[in-house]
Symmetry: none
Subunit: 369 residues, 2 copies
């Protein structure tokens, strides 16, 4: 059957590094099959001569052939083609991350928008230890830019809000991330001691991206796999990956690297991923259980509005009947209202939010499991 063939085509690629040009290799992947694309394409650095430090030592920059394009138009064509394939292989609710510097990120972002991707955030990776500007002719180039976009405007993309909030000491994560560049033991070296890849990204960066925008078991495609940071982090976090890389030496280094990675056990994965949504409790359950009596009055904070509880778990207030949310919204003239925090019952002269009753129910439910 066709479906089986498609599944096999995908499964054959899972957790492997496919050799070849990323556009050609992506063409062989089935439609709507991956959850996330992470792409670190060539930056089109347009370097002129060599750069030396003030002590005259030579800066070992990006000089590889894969970063040479003849013009902006040439780079745009390349971008357009690989983005088109990336969009095709994404599931309807999938998303993409791209990273770049001022040399290429504007072209990349514009092309994403042109192809119908819907930008969700641009994120600044603020390097805690950037290379200084030796010549004193510009500002220290201390950041790179990432763009996070869903496949389309209507996509219900994945965002593990609570996991990121936890990562950020309890306040919501911002669009600027301070992370060190990849150095030390994490930086892959060749047998000659030289760095294996000129632009290896830190695992901390991929950790945050994969944690934020995928779930365990999701498939992450990296069409510019390099030495495999995406694969290493995906494997550790219990995600599947598909890598595409043209250069033999990078593939080899990546394979050795990823083979040594161990998947975190499910407990560790659970704690790093978002807190499970708490079980839904219908307001009517509070009435069924006798925690609130039919006919009892609920109050908005301060007692400005009131409504009466009915046996079926709806409320009736001034000129309005409906759910706790609907009645609250109507009385406030608001577009919406969280009835759980809006409505209060009276105890000992004070107002207690009905949400505490829901907490009790949830606690009891947890006991029985």
């Amino acid at each position: 059957m066709a479906e089986t063939a498609v599944a096999e085509r995908l499964n054959g690629a899972l957790n492997r590094i496919l050799a070849g040009d990323c556009i050609e290799v992506m063409r062989r992947l089935p439609d709507a099959s991956v959850d996330l694309v992470f792409a670190d394409p060539p930056y089109n650095l347009q370097l002129k001569g060599e750069l030396h430090r003030p002590d005259n030592s030579r800066v070992n920059g990006v000089e590889e052939g894969w970063d040479r394009f003849s013009s902006f138009g040439d780079y745009d064509r390349f971008t357009r083609e690989w983005l088109r394939e990336a969009q095709r292989v994404l599931k309807p609710h999938g998303a993409i991350w791209v990273i770049g510097s001022y040399h290429n990120i504007f072209r990349l972002g514009a092309e994403l928008q042109n192809q119908g991707f819907w930008i969700l955030n641009d994120v600044v990776w603020r390097k805690s230890n950037p290379m200084p500007n030796f010549r004193g002719k510009r500002l220290t180039n201390a950041h790179e830019t990432l763009i996070w976009a869903s496949k389309a405007e209507a996509s219900k993309y994945t965002f593990n809000y609570d996991a990121l909030k936890a990562l950020n000491e309890g306040v919501q994560m911002r669009s600027d991330w301070v992370l060190p560049i990849c150095t030390g033991h994490e930086r892959l070296k060749g047998e000659d001691g030289a760095k294996a890849h000129p632009t290896q990204k830190p695992e901390s960066l991929l950790h945050r991206i994969i944690l934020a925008t995928t779930n365990p078991g999701d498939v992450v495609l990296d069409p510019f796999f390099g030495t495999g940071t995406t694969g290493a982090v995906a494997k550790r976090l219990g995600r599947d990956f598909i890598g595409i890389e043209r250069e033999d030496s990078y593939r080899k280094a990546a394979e050795a690297r990823i083979a040594q990675i161990r998947r975190l056990d499910s407990v560790a994965l659970e704690t790093t991923s978002s807190k499970k949504a708490e079980p839904r409790v219908a307001f009517g359950v509070l009435v069924e259980r006798g925690m609130l009596r039919p006919g009892e009055e609920l109050w908005s904070l301060g007692g400005r509005h009131k409504a009466k509880v009915r046996a079926d778990g709806t409320l009736v207030g001034q000129d309005v009947k409906g759910s706790i949310h609907q009645v609250g919204a109507h009385l406030e003239g608001a577009p919406s209202c969280n009835g759980w925090t809006y409505w209060h019952f009276r105890r000992d002269g004070g107002y207690v939010p009905i949400d505490v009753l829901r907490q009790q129910v949830r606690a009891e439910m947890a006991q029985h499991h």
Copy 2:
């Protein structure tokens, strides 16, 4: 003579706010006549409905007609036209700054490159107090992006490296700037108390830009003048400005605002623009003068970290040697550290910041002038 006519056309516009559409007005300005363009064009926010805070209050966002475009193509055409005029009126060694968010900055940057501007840096304005993400559906959009580009690749652009280094506590200025958004008394209000402009930029941002990339007497053109932050800062810093603004209410607010600004006197200008501003005091001077002894210990506040003073004005701490700033940053695992405020010496059982010693040296230096 033709030259005189051109000079008159320019002089007639200096330190004035020209009314009208920026493209049409720029067409009347002579070629190669301004040193810097600062442009804060509409962001093309593509807003859908209203946004409410969790407490149901409504966010008063950008609803003005000037931010509405029918498509990306429409926005691109607009961008192309005003950028073309901006480039024409720039002197050969002139430069441009543009600011935007992820909604428009990629299109803006790509068009800059297409027209032959040469990008020097992209700069991230990290907002210290951004609006949070109320829905918990994305990252807090906590930054905006600026692009600094010269008129052409060959332009010998202005960059006051030392002034920016001085502004940044003696280490070279990075491409990420932390500045608060424009609030409080600085935010212009109408007679009804409502904000006069929905997107007024902070003066601190323009101060840094104008200080960094112009010299006193230079001409700064702002084609989207709004309520005149560019003009206010330019005037204060002894630069000339040309503003262009379509909306009467913004022009009026800007004129009243700028009329109240006083140009800094030449001494203050000198101090803001040169590294001699606050006379730089090397830490080693404190050792030379016997205010601190080699071998003496310095402490972080609370005494969590310590380091030893060496005779050459460097510190040595746990596994690290270097300047007071470097050692502090290393021990804190921070990207940077102001050693003057970080390090303390012990006196009478308390911690005294070494900055007080620097103040003493500066006071003594002032005596001799």
